[in-house]
């Protein structure tokens, strides 16, 4: 198992490297000149030159490339050209909010996906199954920001049940900070009013993102469980008198899990993309909002840093998924 984890980490290094390379060349080599984009097309050439020198853009492209890799390896994501702060530090401040949103969204999506999908597969062809198919195809076509706005309209504007933006009400942040996740920190501190406030703020964004992503999960859990249920060992288990509940969850679902987990891991990328849109919709102070605000400020160091950060985050998630997979499935382990 240890070798497997090490192997898997080794395998993700070239993956990260490829993304870093693509990001670098997209930002530096594509026709748009970041300095011009930053300063506007009418900037005097001398100013442009000075700026290029300051950012190290006058060096040969390969030298820039290796400097960039070296910096990232040392945890140096550069300084924001807008705030002058180290990008990594800014990202680490914003990261817990994004993590909180994605974790809760993932919980919503996995919960709906596993239960709805498994039951639909078990009752293949029943009204429940048909509803699952319609759900997955219909909800999949919801733009996440539109869905968020509609939830805001209904639960915030019409019903006044829940707040429509932000991560907390003023003066309602947990203190002291442990993890940066408001819900977790509030529990650790025992600040129940803060916990209530945080959860209220979290419900709409995580439901928005979670429900939209769940459409894919329902569909794929259903497909995989249908496939497993058709296999002979399921009939064999029934022929030994195993209870239906055990057949469904212990035999069918557990065997269907490895492919499901793998695809869920891949869908995590989609979740992060959706998180950017959700954050903007709900003024959620995470990395997504940060990225969009820096794009409008034309802060290319920050944009580059954010994307590198996302790349590493995705790689870690996919390693995690594979390790869980190996833990479930003895054949992967060796």
């Amino acid at each position: 198992m240890k070798t497997y984890i090490l192997t898997r980490i080794g395998l993700s290094i070239p993956m990260i490297l490829i993304i870093l390379t693509i990001v670098f060349f997209v930002l530096r080599v594509l026709p748009g000149n970041p300095v011009l984009a930053m300063l506007g097309p009418k900037a005097p050439p001398s100013v442009v030159k000075a700026m290029e020198h300051q950012m190290g853009l006058d060096k040969p492209i390969l030298v820039q490339y290796f400097d960039y890799l070296k910096d990232i390896a040392h945890g140096n994501f550069g300084q924001s050209t807008v705030t002058g702060m180290p990008v990594l530090k800014e990202l680490m401040q914003k990261f817990p909010a994004t993590l909180e949103l994605t974790i809760f969204a993932m919980i919503v999506a996995v919960f709906i996906g596993i239960f709805y999908g498994t039951l639909a597969a078990y009752k293949l062809g029943s009204p429940l199954d048909v509803s699952a198919r319609i759900y997955s195809i219909f909800v999949y076509s919801f733009p996440v920001f539109w869905f968020g706005l509609m939830l805001q309209l209904i639960f915030g504007v019409w019903l006044h049940w829940l707040p429509v933006s932000g991560e907390s009400s003023p003066f309602m942040t947990p203190d002291p900070t442990h993890t940066g996740l408001y819900v977790v920190d509030a529990i650790i501190n025992g600040q129940w009013d803060v916990l209530k406030d945080s959860l209220e703020h979290l419900i709409l964004p995580s439901l928005t993102l979670g429900i939209v992503i769940s459409s894919i999960f329902v569909r794929m859990v259903r497909a995989n469980v249908v496939l497993t249920l058709s296999q002979q060992f399921i009939t064999a288990a029934r022929a030994r008198g195993v209870k239906e509940k055990t057949v469904l969850f212990r035999h069918a679902l557990k065997n269907a899990l490895p492919p499901i987990l793998t695809i869920m891991g891949l869908q995590f990328a989609l979740l992060l993309g959706g998180a950017v849109l959700t954050e903007v919709t709900f003024s959620w102070p995470g990395i997504g909002s940060y990225l969009v605000s820096r794009i409008h400020a034309r802060d290319f160091t920050a944009i580059q840093g954010t994307i590198v950060f996302f790349a590493i985050f995705v790689a870690i998630i996919s390693i995690l998924v594979d390790v869980i997979n190996a833990w479930i499935n003895p054949r992967v382990r060796y």
């Binding site: 070798t3 192997t7 080794g10 395998l11």
Partner: protein, 329 residues
């Protein structure tokens, strides 16, 4: 290269090794490459018009042998001399054009037919590839072949897609495609294994019938010894990549010499409840082809194994006009 006039195909010291697929990361961690010796030094001859059967269990390398003989798989080493031409020397377009002279019939007839091609097109394609005949001639030839193969009405079969045919009909189409260029040699790789009992003998009979008509030579690969008895003239028994006994059909069935052949024979169920036989059982299970036992490759399972069998690999020896690779015979 001079050959006995009667000999049509001569295979000499044919070997095929596969590298076991390992992900490159694992290769770094574990180092050594594993190879599978699927065909391990096989030599045999087939006379013109003869049918040689190759029997063996799955994993014996018989399927690889059949594909390698007609160069669907590249041999690692060895010679394949067909009609005085060494097939291993042919390359590119020359090999491609030579293919009109030999073909193969696979086990799974549905999988052998392109699902998006009509039956007529499937059978006429070899003619198109080798530029044989005009469009009209091709069609006439195919229709008459369909008639002969009982694919009637031929015109209707000509325009059908494979999925609308039964298993036996599909296999007849496959045979028609294999024969359409008038080849001299056919490799049949378990042509009846996927068919229903009542259809099997139908296909076997058809193959015997066309053999006479088209003056064919067969290499007939099968695990079904009983079926092999009807179509083969001689039979070679393969075990773990090597032929361990090869003899006339009558000899093999009357008196198998190699212990493995004996075991194989006694394992075949006989559809007659009145027959009672002494059953001979091997020890253990067939070893992996990545790890072929030293000495005689059968000694780990042989009920008669002696010390010499563990040390020395027996060669095929001539014993009364038949070849056996066993120290004890």
């Amino acid at each position: 290269m001079r050959m006995n006039e009667e000999t049509f195909l001569k295979v000499e010291h044919l070997r095929k090794e596969f590298d076991l697929k390992v992900s490159w990361i694992k290769a770094i961690f574990k180092g050594k490459k594993k190879t599978v010796k699927a065909v391990d030094d096989v030599s045999f001859e087939i006379k013109r018009g003869e049918t040689l059967g190759i029997v063996g269990e799955s994993g014996s390398g018989k399927t690889t042998l059949g594909r390698t003989v007609i160069r669907l798989i590249e041999p690692t080493s060895g010679k394949i001399i067909m009609d005085n031409t060494d097939l291993t020397k042919l390359k590119g377009d020359v090999l491609r054009k030579a293919r009109r002279d030999f073909s193969i019939i696979f086990q799974d007839p549905m999988a052998s037919l392109n699902p998006y091609m009509r039956i007529g097109k499937i059978v006429s394609h070899p003619l198109e590839i080798h530029n044989i005949g005009t469009k009209q001639e091709r069609k006439e030839k195919i229709l008459s072949l369909f008639e002969k193969f009982n694919l009637t009405p031929p015109e209707e079969f000509y325009n059908r897609f494979p999925k609308y045919l039964s298993g036996g009909q599909r296999q007849r189409v496959v045979i028609a495609r294999a024969l359409i260029t008038n080849p001299k040699f056919i490799v049949a790789d378990e042509p009846t294994a996927m068919l229903d009992v009542s259809v099997r003998s139908q296909i076997l009979k058809l193959m015997i019938q066309v053999k006479e008509e088209f003056k064919l030579t067969y290499l007939f690969i099968t695990h079904d010894l009983a079926g092999a008895k009807y179509i083969c003239d001689r039979i070679g028994v393969m075990y773990l990549g090597r032929i361990i006994e090869i003899a006339k059909k009558e000899d093999i069935f009357k008196e198998p010499l190699h212990p493995y052949t004996k075991i194989l024979m006694s394992a075949i169920p006989i559809p007659d409840p009145n027959t009672k036989r002494e059953k001979l059982m091997p020890k253990g299970e067939i070893p992996s082809a990545t790890n072929i036992p030293k000495g005689c490759r059968f000694h780990t399972r042989c009920p008669f194994a002696k010390d010499i069998c563990k040390e020395q690999e027996p060669e095929l020896r001539d014993i009364g006009g038949r070849l056996v690779a066993c120290h004890l015979v």
